[in-house]
């Protein structure tokens, strides 16, 4: 069986505290509950959560949906998105199974990045993060600028033409985002677009709901 790895990069800086972080937690739980009802996603999708504030941390390693449990998440500190991208690439190197003649490796991982602010890493860490990220091939990589203070220009450098925006980081908009991510994972797990080219753009994913604006 080829696994479909999914990495969620979630901003847990101070500005996310309160309603945004609670909505992220319930959104992730809803995502897991919904995907467990999809037999193909339950079989193949593996989920990892990387959080970032002053530091980046992989709080859940790549785990199958049946045994996935969401740990407690709290929000404080700054926005080390550059470090998170570097950590993502490290995790990918460790966790992804490569195809050999004897073993069917993983599908290309999907990545969803959610942030409400401006990265606070040093410039060299940021540029390293971006170049390491671009050195890898991803199945689909989408950033979500949650609220007016998110750095859309930076996100567009990370995931060109794959940035979606929420007007504010409130419960209903974040919930709509997670529903869309859920549908995107379910669709991707089921199979492949007509062209069969494994393209990575937003066009391969279900249409985003009205709450999500494509930047």
């Amino acid at each position: 069986m080829r696994r479909l790895p999914v990495y969620m990069l979630v901003d847990v800086s101070g500005s996310m505290s309160g309603e945004p972080i609670e909505s992220v937690k319930s959104g992730l739980q809803m995502l897991v509950d919904a995907l467990r009802k999809e037999p193909r996603a339950l079989e193949t999708a593996y989920l990892s959560v990387i959080t970032f504030n002053s530091r980046a941390q992989q709080i859940v390693p790549l785990t199958d949906l049946a045994s996935f449990q969401l740990p407690e998440i709290t929000a404080s500190g700054c926005t080390a998105l550059g470090e998170a991208l570097k950590l993502l690439c490290d995790c990918r190197k460790k966790e992804i199974i490569k195809t050999t003649t004897e073993v069917k490796g993983d599908w290309k991982p999907m990545v969803f990045i959610l942030t409400d602010g401006i990265p606070t890493d040093d410039d060299d860490v940021l540029s390293e993060g971006i170049s390491e990220f671009h050195a890898e091939k991803w199945g689909a990589a989408v950033s979500c600028a949650a609220g007016p203070d998110a750095d859309k220009d930076f996100l567009d450098k990370v995931t060109p033409e794959c940035v979606v925006e929420l007007a504010t980081a409130d419960k209903s908009r974040l919930s709509a985002f997670f529903k869309w991510v859920t549908a995107s994972i379910a669709t991707t797990s089921k199979g492949i677009n007509e062209q069969g080219d494994g393209a990575t753009g937003l066009g391969q994913l279900p249409p985003p709901p009205p709450e999500l604006t494509i930047v």
């Binding site: 069986m1 549908a183 199979g191 492949i192 069969g196 080219d197």
Partner: protein
Amino acid sequence: MYKNGKCVTVKAVSGKTYQYIWTDTPASGVMKDVYFAPDKSYVVAFFREQQDANSIERLENLVGRYRQGMFGGDGGGYWEKVYCWPYDLIRDGKRIGLVVPAYRKEFFFRYGSPTFDLKHGEKQGEWFTNPWHRFCNLDRRETGDWRKYFDICMLLARGVRRMHMAGLAHSDLSYKNVLIDPITSSVAIIDIDGLVVPGKFPPDVLGTDGFIAPEVYATMGLPKRDKNRKFPCKETDLHALAVLIYMYLLCRHPLEGKKIWDVNDEQRDKLLAFGEKAVFIENPMDTCNRYTVEWVRKNEPPSRFRYLLPWRDLDKLPYTVLGPYLRPLIERAFIDGLHNPAKRPQAFEWEEALIQTMDLMIPCRNAKCDQKWFVFDNSAAKPKCPFCGTPYNISLPVLNLYHLSGKKYAFSGKRVMVYNGTRLYRWHIDPKVERNEKLTDAEKRPVACFQFHQGNWYLRNESDCDMVDMGKRTPVPKQSAILLADGVQIRLGGESARMIHVQMVNK
């Protein structure tokens, strides 16, 4: 547009009115948004995208002519259960919607999963074709025994046969579009609106991964108008049907094996493995795609491995365990016909072979056996259950069915394995009666039953006429019994009835 919870009334093209409950988060499929009627007896499914004139004509035919053709005649009611067929069309401004019956309650999980919340989830076929799902993630009360899956495959083949007879192809048969219930042995073919009519309505989807026929995958890269490009049609339905039957019965995919065609590109590897280069995992002439248990161990998560056996053990559970009627069909579907659509078995052939195979099934002697049934192989020296290995060591009468051809009896190609409680029906004794959807209630009543009593096997005549012991030329009147022994020949009714020749195995 409306407030959530508002009941909207719409008028359909038939002139009837329907109601649905508006919500801004409708259940959504790939192409449609689905709204429920207030009493949930039907749904209104609106296409998200605008439909062109050709599509609208197809939908009009779907709820009109084709529906009438399928359900209008005698016995139409039988088919209502096999399909979830749309029955009306709504044109609400630019929006086009279908009125579709809601899925019956047996197609929703009652117990779901012991480990997570799956109650009320839809019983998509995929839950039952992956052994990790079937034997770990589902409650045991949801999964049924092996015989139930033969019933299900037979009904599915029957449903496809009926559509093909009407000149229609489903075009997207897959476990996603077939709901099954292994408790009541029910099947519902859903998502009918993509149906294809040759020369009239072309397909609008290519199908579902894993069920798309090799020739469709292989020509996917060609321009749409290229004459070599292959699209879903009746022959591709037949590929999907064969894959479904193989998967329901053996819990593995016939083409998903160990061969890697492209180490660097998973997408291309998959396209080749299911398309141009597709090879049956059990092809005896080309074993490049065949895997071993060791390979399965390396390629599946360790926690799931034990649920995958014996299904993924091709030596222990080869397709030949499906018996002599299904064996040649599997070979035609996945060896001869894999890249040659004209050779694929027709739906009616699957239906017949499944019906005949069920007559060869006997209950496992091990009361705790998970599968409870297997197809008896009377060529084996020591017959045993392929699932739990329990030997079948009691005597077993095999009935060979003969029919009158001119003045002589000829073998009908049918056999029945007898276990305690086996019944014969009209379609066993009367060569003119077929087991199909046209059976009357009278024809569904058993005409003979078999009992094991104090070490002996007896046939009891439950029909309304005498049977005849052909050796002794004595009648076996209704409600009386006759002892079965090797070589005994019994005519199962009047002059034109079939005759059985008894052969005792494990004497």
